[in-house]
């Protein structure tokens, strides 16, 4: 019960940050601009909220990290129901850095790309009403991910790998977070690792 209370206490409000990664080039029809704005807005009204089950861990522990997309807007948004902890190509990228801001050294690339949805799959999108959250969690071995005692920050970045043109036609006009939408990074969450 104590763990549960602390768990929820650690879910803190986050500021929305958006990164535009694509530049439009050439002539674009007004309808395309309108659609791009709609897609971008769907992404903007989501934020990534992360939390850990505790603040302090020893080397033999596991950190349970939960990542949730929260709809902070006033209208319904749709998101891909699949999320994998396999970097931006799978939807969720975990970034860990130490107290000095140094990123922990990368291991050999650890990724598995999100495949396209099955053709005609109309269940691939999850409707997120205003104020609702949707996400997943991961257990991180402290010994592997945080091998030395100290303070570490965790961040998670969400990237939609769902291209609009590859979903069932009846879903394409929904206000969803599609491939190419701005990345959605969380705020940092700090943990402390002791011997």
């Amino acid at each position: 019960m104590l763990v549960l209370s602390r768990f929820f206490l650690r879910i803190c409000p986050l500021a929305l940050a958006s990164i535009f990664l694509f530049q439009t080039a050439g002539k674009i029809a007004p309808s395309q601009i309108s659609q791009q704005l709609k897609d971008s807005n769907s992404s903007r009204q989501l934020r990534m909220v992360i939390c850990t089950d505790r603040e302090k861990y020893s080397l033999g522990d596991f950190v349970r990290l939960t990542a949730l997309l929260e709809n902070t807007g006033d209208s319904r948004v749709y998101v891909d129901r699949r999320m994998f902890w396999t970097g931006l190509s799978g939807g969720l990228k975990l970034v860990i850095s130490d107290e000095k801001g140094n990123f922990l050294p990368a291991e050999l690339s650890s990724d598995a790309m999100m495949p396209p949805p099955p053709q005609g799959d109309t269940s691939i999108l999850i409707p997120l009403e205003s104020g609702f959250l949707y996400g997943t969690s991961v257990n991180l071995s402290v010994k592997i991910f945080f091998p030395k005692p100290g303070r570490y920050s965790l961040r998670v970045i969400y990237n939609s790998m769902l291209p609009k043109e590859l979903v069932a036609p009846e879903l394409r006009e929904l206000p969803a977070v599609w491939f190419g939408a701005p990345l959605i990074p969380s705020k940092q969450v700090w943990i402390e690792v002791t011997k």
Binding site: L21, F22, R82, F84, W85, T86, G87, L88, S89, G90, K93, L94, V95, I96, S97, F103, L104, P105, A106, E107, L108, S109, S110, D111, A112, M113, M114, P115, P116, P117, P118, Q119, D121, S123, I124, T136, S137, V138, N139, S141, I144, F145, I157, N159, M161, P163, E165, L166, F179, L183
Partner: protein, 213 residues
């Protein structure tokens, strides 16, 4: 009537009479006789401990927390992927074969515990949830051998602001293999989107800043 081994099948046109336990099914428009022994349960299939991929042994390990049924499902999926690679081996380029040959083991884990993808020493690790996710076809799974294998080949080749090229290279190998083993249009399109030069900023972000977990 000649004895048949369990699970043996024959097509219509046999002059043998149907025996007890025999039943006909239609596969690809052909009527096929399936013979099953009576009074016995079919032998329990076991998950494969290793598979041959392009004449190389690839060991398969299963998280002990997976149920027998889950292990069997994973085994079938991996075997189907390997079959596609083997069946189309003559279409693969030497570079694609080289990438695939980097993979020596495959580990299926339960959800959310281990790192996934190319996890070191020629291993691919995938979660049960990933393997059973909508869209993960045999061709997609087979093509991942090339993707992760190419990452092994690329080790140390790209650094700094060029790390996105590692991901583009791995995805390019995956696409080449996928096109030869049965990618559908969506799979092809999806991978092309991801590895396009226009997506380099995201690929770079994917590859840098510590763990790409």
């Amino acid at each position: 009537m000649a004895a048949r081994t369990p699970g043996e099948f024959s097509t219509r046109g046999d002059e043998e009479r149907d025996g007890p336990g025999d039943h006909w099914v239609t596969i690809n428009g052909n009527h096929v006789l399936i013979s099953e022994p009576q009074g016995k349960q079919p032998a329990q299939a076991q998950p494969a401990a290793s598979i041959k991929v392009l004449n190389k042994d690839v060991t398969i390990a299963y998280d002990p927390r997976l149920s027998a049924e889950e292990k069997l499902r994973a085994s079938k999926a991996i075997t189907a992927a390997a079959d596609l690679l083997n069946k189309n081996a003559d279409k693969l380029t030497d570079d694609e074969k080289k990438a695939i040959a980097q993979i020596s083991s495959f580990f299926e884990t339960t959800l959310n515990k281990d790192k996934l993808g190319a996890t070191g020493k020629g291993s691919i690790t995938l979660s049960k949830d990933y393997m059973e996710a909508p869209g993960v076809s045999a061709a997609w799974l087979g093509s991942l051998f090339g993707h992760e294998g190419q990452h092994y080949l690329n080790a140390g080749k790209y650094s700094g602001s060029e790390r996105w090229r590692d991901e583009q290279s791995a995805s390019g190998t995956q696409l080449g293999i996928g096109n030869k083993i049965g990618f559908d249009d969506n799979e092809r399109h999806s991978l092309q989107n991801w590895m396009d030069d226009k997506n380099r900023a995201v690929m770079q972000e994917h590859m840098e800043k510590g763990y790409t977990y």
